[in-house]
């Protein structure tokens, strides 16, 4: 059984894996960013009715969430430059499979790291807006928490780029 299943896996074209990786990198990152923005935005709007002074400062939370989507776009652009064509005879070579999997993994890393980062920053941003409305000295302290949260997305981007850097397709046979 295992040999036939692993053969099934290796028969999928590495282009498929690579393309799906690129899709996940941008798609899931944007999901995370959007989720985070609506979580923080709805609280921010409601709290700003009573305390209008918080709006300009708390847009930083929204910007941190947006940065997560930008990471996803950047990595997707980088990944798509790594997609090369290989001749048909080499398409299922171990080297090509490795390149396909590397791009796929890179996409997943970036996508899900940014998803979680976006959620994290969004929830903290919501609490930040509500606390700032009550007591303006709290804003900077909670911002530190948000900065740590957004570092998570950066970790994902770094590892994703390292993964994709070694995604080398087999050289064309002469």
């Amino acid at each position: 059984m295992t040999s036939s299943w692993s053969r099934a896996l290796t028969q999928i074209s590495p282009y498929t894996f690579a393309s799906i990786g690129i899709a996940i990198s941008i798609g899931v990152s944007v999901l995370g960013a959007a989720w985070g923005i609506y979580i923080t935005g709805s609280s921010l709007i409601g709290a700003a009715i009573k305390a209008p002074r918080i709006t300009s400062k708390n847009l930083i939370s929204v910007i941190f969430c947006e940065a997560v989507a930008i990471y996803g776009v950047i990595v997707a652009i980088i990944l798509q430059t790594k997609l090369e064509s290989v001749p048909a005879s080499q398409i299922y070579d171990p080297e090509s499979l490795r390149a396909g999997y590397a791009i796929f993994a890179s996409g997943i890393i970036v996508g899900f790291a940014n998803l979680m980062c976006g959620l994290c920053v969004g929830i903290i941003g919501s609490s930040c807006a509500l606390s700032d409305a009550q007591n303006s000295t709290l804003f900077v302290k909670i911002l530190v928490i948000e900065i740590f949260g957004s570092a998570l997305g950066l970790f994902g981007v770094i590892v994703g780029i390292i993964m994709s850097a070694q995604a080398t397709w087999p050289a064309k046979a002469t």
């Binding site: 989720w35 609506y38 979580i39 709805s42 609280s43 921010l44 709007i45 409601g46 709290a47 009715i49 009573k50 305390a51 959620l119 929830i123 919501s126 609490s127 807006a129 509500l130 409305a133 009550q134």
Partner: protein, 477 residues
């Protein structure tokens, strides 16, 4: 205590010795929940307690997009984020200890009004303005009729129409604020304490209506549940007033605005409970609470009080079950708040019925079937005959022991204040957590406490008894 110990055994107690334990005037404890009134009950059988739903609300909560307990932050803000932020904004407008200190040092009611005008109550306390306020669900024709009435009497009218939340309904939520322009040289009318309290309650009403407009299910149902208590109070007020032959209009003005409903004036016509139910209450949300107390008896003072407490008991249990269905942090926090409310009402019922002709069984029927005191505390409270026995029954429960420790033996006046303080403490704690509905409930209760404080302060100032001001003012922050 032997009785309880034996109940916890797995063997049933010997029947022959049973009657000797029971005292002369005491009836055997009736287990209403088992509904075996003809049998002598052996032991408390927890499997058949019908009122309490399972506490496993952490599982099976993922219907309709609800998140698991602990993950509500992911989906709460879709529908509730804006309103939660709004209610927290309202909470920041509650009077602080500094405001209360200013108010306590006032000499006259005009001073109080001046201080209050500097707080959030300012727009509501303007003289010559806001003399008539109406917010009700009504059809569009009655809205235009209301506006025509107001305009005819020389008032400026500001009306906003908001379509009702329920689908396929052509009702509008009509908010009308009528301003009477001050004539030149006219003296402002003298200020009464009731005026101040009315205007402050109007503010609460406005805030509530604003939130209710914006809410979707299940938050809108939750907000409506909060007002059923006021509805019950209004019903009892009108029925009692009619019994003592007061004018219906005068009674309607005294009703709490949050508990108004259409056809409330028809309550004055009813002669007994069955008519009350059939004519008026069957169309209100209170209809389902009436199943336990429909009798053909005429309404007199005692029966009305029993009716009030029975309705309130059914309401609390209904609210409790609704919150359990909501699950998550709402269920947890609301359970605690509602359990405290149920226990406090049990103690108040006990103390108020000491020395009256309310039998122990009737008393027991008025206790809610949830809360810290349920079921053993209720059994002890049901047989209490004076305050010290109540204290003895309550001191077994650590949260209530601390309340009773604040008041000395034989005294019950400070008990109310001690309960209010404990309630305020718990309500403030509800704001510590985000992404749940209990903040709405907590805010309404805190605002009610603030209005009670203002009423007490105004009364003390008006009657020149400022030494007693601190007897009953509960500081919120």
């Amino acid at each position: 205590m032997e009785r309880f110990r034996r109940e916890l055994d797995s063997r049933p107690p010997p029947r022959e010795g049973g009657d000797e334990r029971v005292g002369e005037g005491e009836r055997r404890v009736q287990r209403d929940w088992n509904e075996r009134e003809d049998e002598k009950p052996d032991r408390v059988d927890f499997k058949v307690l019908p009122e309490i739903r399972s506490f496993d609300h952490r599982i099976h909560r993922e219907e309709e997009g609800e998140a698991m307990y602990g993950f509500e932050a992911l989906t709460f803000n879709i529908h509730g984020g804006y309103l939660e932020a709004i209610v927290r904004g309202y909470r920041s407008g509650l009077l602080t200890a500094a405001d209360y200190n200013n108010l306590c040092q006032c000499e006259t009611l005009d001073d109080i009004k001046m201080h209050l005008s500097a707080t959030e109550y300012g727009p509501y306390l303007q003289n010559g303005a806001l003399i008539s306020h109406s917010s009700s669900r009504c059809g569009s024709d009655s809205v235009s009729r209301i506006c025509a009435d107001w305009r005819d009497s020389g008032r400026h009218v500001l009306v906003s129409y908001i379509p009702d939340q329920k689908p396929d309904s052509d009702l509008f939520l009509c908010r009308g604020i009528a301003y009477q322009p001050m004539e030149k040289g006219a003296k402002p009318s003298p200020l009464h304490t009731t005026t101040i309290v009315e205007k402050c309650t109007l503010k609460l009403l406005d805030e509530y209506k604003h939130m209710l407009c914006q809410a979707t299910e299940p938050l809108s149902t939750f907000l409506e549940y909060i007002t059923y208590g006021y509805m019950i109070d209004n019903v009892v007020l009108i029925v009692t007033g009619t019994l003592h032959e007061r004018d219906v209009q005068e009674l309607l003005e005294k009703c709490h605005p949050l508990g108004m409903f259409d056809s409330i004036a028809t309550l004055a016509v009813a002669q007994n409970m069955r008519e009350l139910y059939r004519l008026v209450l069957v169309d209100t949300p209170l209809a389902s609470y009436f199943s336990e107390c429909i009798t053909s008896e005429d309404l007199d003072d005692m029966n009305i009080e029993i009716m009030r407490n029975t309705l309130y008991k059914a309401y609390l249990e209904d609210f409790y079950n609704f919150c359990q269905k909501l699950g998550g942090a709402t269920a947890e926090i609301m359970s605690d708040l509602l359990a405290f409310e149920a226990d406090r009402r049990a103690v108040n019922i006990t103390i108020n019925s000491i020395g009256t002709e309310l039998t122990r069984d009737d008393r027991r029927k008025l206790y809610s079937s949830f809360g810290l005191l349920y079921p053993y505390g209720h059994e002890e409270l049901a047989v209490c005959e004076d305050i010290d026995q109540v204290r003895g029954a309550m001191e077994k429960y650590p949260p209530y022991q601390s309340i009773f420790a604040k008041i000395s033996y034989g005294e019950s006046q400070m008990l109310d204040k001690a309960f209010y303080e404990e309630e305020v403490k718990r309500l403030c704690l509800a704001f510590e957590q985000q992404f749940h509905y209990a903040v709405f409930f907590a805010y309404m209760r805190l605002k009610e406490q603030e209005i009670r404080n203002l009423m007490w302060i105004s009364e003390c100032v008006a009657q020149n008894q400022k030494t007693r001001i601190h007897d009953s003012v509960v500081f919120i922050f």
